[in-house]
Symmetry: D2
C-alpha cells in the first residue's frame, strides 16, 4: 500500500502514521518526491488499512498495490478451472449452451422447451422457479413445483439443469433438484447466500451485480471459493448505465478481461445483457468470440405469452438459428461447441 | 398502456394484437397519427403485459402510463407517514438524527459512542453487528454479541436502536434486539428479506440499491408495505456513477423527489453518500434543506482505528459541530430538530 | 405524443391543454383509462412540445411516440449507406480496417507505421494531428505539420487517410489533407463543428460521446446529414460507466442496435473502447461479429515510447495477428475483409 | 508515480524499466513488498508517462501520485478567487443569483424577465442566444440579435449579463455583448473553445461535462487559467447517470468537494441539474448550504410557452419564492445574499 501525503504535512503527522503502522506490525518507507511524499507500506496489509489511514491528519489518499484476490486470480492459479456437470464440461475450451424459459410455467411449456433446446444442441437446461421481480405484483414463479418440473424435464432429455436460488432458506431444496445453483444479479452481494450456496459443494453460477465493478464481482466469487467449493462460474449479464435503448449494457470488455485475470469459467447472458430478442444473436456471437466459455439464453415456445421476460426470449426457430451461427463462429475461434447433449446422452 | 406500432405494420399484425388484448380482457383503441399508429390499452394492466406485447410482430415499443405503486405513492395516500420508535417520531416534520459506529467493536467503544452522540443531540443509536463487506477477508461484525452490545448501549442512554439485517435467517434475532431493521444497499432487491423484515411489524429502513432507479427503490418498499407493515423509511445513501473522487454520488434530487412522490419518511446517509468525512457535514446539511426527515451518521471515537468505514466516520467533536450546524439550518427551513433524547428520556 | 394526466386533474386543466394544443395546430384526443387519463396528440409535433406541456397544471408527464430521426433511420431509408473513399467502400458488407498511430509524431514513425499496417492488410490510414487532451500539459499534436506527414504517408502507401478535426477553424485545412474527417468523442455534441464538417462534403466519422445515449448520437449525425452530406459513419468507442478496470465500456449492444435502426455504417474502436492493448483483439473480433462494418485500431512502432495513448496501442506484430484473426472471423460471418490496400493500389 | 510490477516479472524487465526512466531523466526506486514489487518514480513526471510504462513487459499498472492541477488547486493558491463583474463579486463569501430565460425569444420576453428577476433580487442576467440542441430540428436561438436583446435588458436593469458561446467563431461577438462567457456542458472538453474564451480575459463560467469526472472538469478549467485568465467559475449542472426520473443527477458531493480542492468559485445550476421545476427550489437551497458561491436559474414569464427548457423553468412568482427562501438559508450558513442589484445600481 502507498500512503500519499498532503503537500505541507508536518513531521509530527508523518511520525504518527509511521507509529500507527508500527502498532499493526507494518513497516513504512518514506519516499520524498518532487511534488509529493509517499509512504510505501510493507507487510501483511489488511483490507481496512486504507480507510483507517485516510482519516489521519496529513494523509491525502492511499493506494492499494496488492491484488485483492486470494483464490480467483490467475496469479495464484494460472490454469483454467473446468467444471463438470453431468456429461458437460464448462471451461474446457469448448463452448457450452444453457437454454430454457425465464420462468417455469407448467409441465407442457417446460417439457416442450427442453426437447426443443436439446434438439437444437443445448447442453444445460435452465428455468426459473423462484423469480426475483422488481414489482411485488409480478408473477414470482412456481417455487418448489417449478423445481420439480425443471428437474423432470432435465432428466427426460438427459440435460443437467440450472435454476436460481433467492434466499438461504431455499438453498437446500434448490440443491436437491438442481445441478447448478444460480445467484442472480440482485443477490450478487448477498454474502450470506453466496456462502450458503458455496457450502452445498454444487457448481454455482454467479451473475454480476447491476452496479458491480469487476473487482466487486470477483470478490463475491471469493466468498464462494472461500467455503472450499472451487466450482464457480462468473456470468456477465449486463450492467446498468445511462443508456436506455437497451435494458442493460452488456460489458464485452469484462468478458475478455475476466478470462485474462481469473481462471474461472465465464458464461455470457445476452438475453438479460440486451433485453431485446433481436440483439441476442449478435451479442451472443460476440461474447463467444471475446472469450466466453458458454452462453445462457432465454427460450420460450411463445415469447408473446411468456409470464416473464418475453421481450428478450427467443422462440425455438430463432434459438436454432443462433446455435447454428454459433457453431460456425466457435469453430472459427477454435473453441467448438461441446458435443450436443443429444449425442452425449440420449433421452 | 400505449402500444407504439412500427411504421409499415400490417393490418394482420394489428388484428393479432387487438385479439391478444381481447384474450386477456383488455380493450385496445387505435389512434392513427401523422407518423405513427398507437394502440391505447384500457383495463387492468398486469406487469408482464409490456414484455409480452413487445415480442409481437408490428410492435415497436410499449409505454406504461399508470403508476406502478399501489401503497407507497402520494396519489393513494397524500398525508405523510409518521413512524414512532420509542419517543421519537420520524416523518413528523421535525428532523431526526441517527448516529453511531459503522460496526460494533466492543462494549467500551459502543457505550462511549452512545453517550457521546446522545449528549450531542442524537435520537436513534446505530451500530452494525452483521456487516456486509465486499471482501470476505474484511471484518464482518460481531454478530449476535454485537446486537447485544448495541441494545445495551441504547437502553443505557434511552435511545432506540437501528441495525442491519443481512439474511432471512437473522430477521428474528435482529428484531429481538433492534427497534428498527435496516436493509442494506446490497440487499435492496433481496425480495425475500424485504418480506421477512416486513412481517416482523417493526419499522424498516430501506437503503437504496447502488444501481436502483427511484422506481425500483419505491417498488422494493412496496414489498415491505405489501406485508401489511406501514412503517417503512427510505434511505438515500448515494448511487454508483462514473465519479471516483467520492465513494458514491449522493442523489440530492432523489431526496427532494421522494418527498414529492411518496408519503414515506426519507433519511439521508451522507457518510456512505460521500465516503469522505470532510464532506459529511455539507452534504448532511444539504439533505436536510432538500427535504430529508432525518440523517444517519457514522460516528466513531477514533476513526483512524475503526474496523470498518473509518474514512467516512466523524469523531465526537465533528459530530457535535454537525449537529449544531444542523440545528440552525433545520430551524431555518422550519423543520427543527426533534427534541434531544437527553431531554426526552434521561439515561 | 401522449400527455399523461395526473390523477385528480380538473376539467379546467384538461380544457387548457386542449386549447393550448389547438393554438399550435394540433389535435388532442382524450382517452380515459382505469387509473389514468391520457391525451393522444395528433399532428406535426415539434421538439419543444413535451417540455412546454410538462409545465402545465394537471400534466404528469409526456411521451414522444414518433421517431426523432428524419434522415438517419432505417424507416426512411432501409438500404445501407455505402461510403466510397479512394478505392475502399465502407458499409458495403465487407469489413474495413483503419489503423495508424494515435498521434503523428514525426516522418519516420508515420511512414514506418503506414507501411506496416498496409502490409498487414489495413485499408485506411489514421493518425492524429490535432489531439484533444484532458490535461493542457499533455502533448497536443503537431497540427498542420502532422496533417502533411499523414497525407504524405497515405499517398506513399496508397491508402486514404482519416484524422480528427477539433474546431471549426481547422475544418478547411483538415479537409484539404484528409479523406475522412473524424469528430472526436469530446466534440460529439459540438453542433457547429458537426455542421461545418458536414458542409465540406467529405465523409465524416462521428464518434459517440462519452455520455451520449444512442439517440443523442444518431441525432448528432442528423446535424451532419442535414447539411446535405450523406457520408456519415458512426463510431462506437466506449462509454463512461462506473467500471474502472477498463478505460471505457465498449457498448457491444450499440454496435448491433445501430445496424438495426440506422442505415449508416458503424465503425468500432476497440482501442479507446477498452484502453488496454490486451483487450483490443478480442473486442475487435467481437465487434465485427456483432455487426460492425469496420474497426479503427491504434498501432505504434513502439507503444512504450508513444506520445499519446501508448497503453492501448498495438505494435506491428500484434496488429498483424489481429488482422489474421479478423480475416477468419469476418469470413465466418460472411462479411469478409475488403481486399487489402496492397492489392488494390500498390504503393 | 508508482509502477506496480506483475507478480513473476523478470529481472530483465525491471532493468528495462529502470533504463527507460533513466532515458527520460527520472529515477526509479525499487520497493519489494510481500506480494508485489513497486517502483517509485521520482522527478518531473510528464502526463504520458503512465501510458508509456503500462505497455512495457512486466508492468501491471501505474499510479499517479502528484496532483494534476497546476493552477486551479487549493494547494498552490489557498485563498479563494473572487471575480468582479460589474458591481457584483462572485466567490466573496456572499451568495450570488444569476437568472433569466433559457433562450432569448424577443424583446418583450427578455425585458420583462430582466425586470422581474432584478426586482426579486437577482444579480446577474442570463439568456441564451446561441443554443446547443440535441436535435437539429429544435429552436437554436436568435444568435447575434439575441445577444443584443440580452445586453440591452442587462443595461436597462443595471445587471451584468452571461450567455453561452458555442464556437471559437462566436467568441469575439459574444465577448462584445456579454460580461461573462458561458461554456456549456457539451463543450466542456472543447479545448480550443476553452482557450479562445480564456484569451478574451473576460470571466468564464465553465459547466461540467455530462460525463466529466471532477478531475476532468478542473483540468478543463486549467486550459482557461493557462491562458493567463484567472477569472474562471465552475458550474455544477448535473451529471448523466442511470437515473431517469430526473433529467440529470445533481452532484451535491461535487459542490462541497470543489470548494475543498479548488480556489475557484462554484455556481450551482439546479435547473439543468434536476430538469424539473418543482425540484429547483429544494436543490438550489441544498447547493447553497453545501457551499455554492451562487446559483443560476432559468426563469420565464410563461414556462409553458418557452421555446426551450420550459419544463425546468420557474415563473416569476416561483423565482421570488426561491430567492426569499434562499435569503433565510444563506443567512443561516453565514453566506448572505450579495446586495440586490436594485440597491447597488438603480436602472
Amino acid at each position: 500500500m502507498m500512503v500519499i501525503m498532503k503537500s505541507g504535512y508536518s513531521q509530527e503527522e508523518m511520525d504518527q502514521i509511521i507509529q500507527r503502522l508500527d502498532e499493526v506490525g507494518l513497516k513504512g518507507h518514506q519516499i520524498v518526491g518532487v511534488e509529493r511524499t509517499v509512504i510505501a507500506v510493507v507487510g501483511s496489509i489488511y483490507p481496512e488499512l486504507g480507510d483507517e489511514l485516510e482519516t489521519m491528519d496529513g494523509v491525502a489518499s492511499t493506494v492499494r498495490i496488492s491484488s485483492p484476490y486470494k483464490l480467483a486470480g490467475r496469479e495464484t492459479k494460472p490454469e483454467a478451472t473446468v467444471i463438470k456437470v453431468g456429461n458437460v464440461e464448462i471451461g474446457s475450451g469448448k463452448t457450452v449452451f444453457m437454454a430454457g424459459p425465464c420462468a417455469v410455467e407448467n409441465e407442457d411449456q417446460m417439457m416442450e422447451t427442453a426437447k426443443a433446446v436439446k434438439e437444437a444442441g443445448a447442453h444445460v437446461l435452465r428455468g426459473g422457479a423462484f423469480k426475483p421481480r422488481t414489482s411485488p405484483y409480478s408473477f414470482r414463479g412456481l417455487g418448489v413445483e417449478g423445481l420439480r418440473l425443471l428437474s423432470q424435464a432435465g432428466k427426460a432429455t438427459g440435460m443437467p439443469v440450472i435454476t436460481e436460488v433467492m434466499s438461504v432458506r431455499e438453498v437446500d431444496v434448490v440443491a436437491e433438484y438442481s445441478d447448478i445453483l444460480q445467484i442472480g444479479t440482485r443477490n450478487a452481494q448477498n454474502f450470506m447466500l453466496l456462502e450458503e450456496a458455496g457450502r452445498t459443494g454444487k457448481p454455482v453460477l454467479l451473475k454480476r451485480g447491476l452496479a458491480s465493478q469487476i473487482e466487486d464481482w470477483v470478490l463475491a466469487a471469493e466468498y464462494i471459493l472461500n467455503t472450499g467449493n472451487p466450482n464457480v462460474m462468473l456470468c456477465e449479464r449486463g450492467i446498468r448505465t445511462f443508456e436506455t435503448a437497451t435494458r442493460n449494457t452488456m460489458d464485452i470488455n469484462a468478458v475478455a478481461l475476466i478470462k485474462e485475470i481469473s481462471h474461472l469459467p465465464l458464461i455470457a447472458d445476452p438475453s438479460h445483457g440486451t433485453g431485446k430478442w433481436s440483439l441476442v444473436k449478435p451479442v451472443a456471437l460476440a461474447s463467444i468470440v471475446a472469450g466466453a466459455d458458454g452462453v445462457i439464453i432465454e427460450v420460450h415456445p411463445n415469447p408473446d405469452h411468456a409470464l416473464s421476460d418475453g421481450a428478450q426470449s427467443l422462440n425455438f426457430k430463432r434459438f436454432r438459428e443462433l446455435i447454428e451461427a454459433s457453431r460456425v463462429i466457435a469453430d472459427a475461434v477454435d473453441r467448438p461447441l461441446w458435443p450436443a447433449a443429444a449425442e452425449a446422452a440420449p433421452a
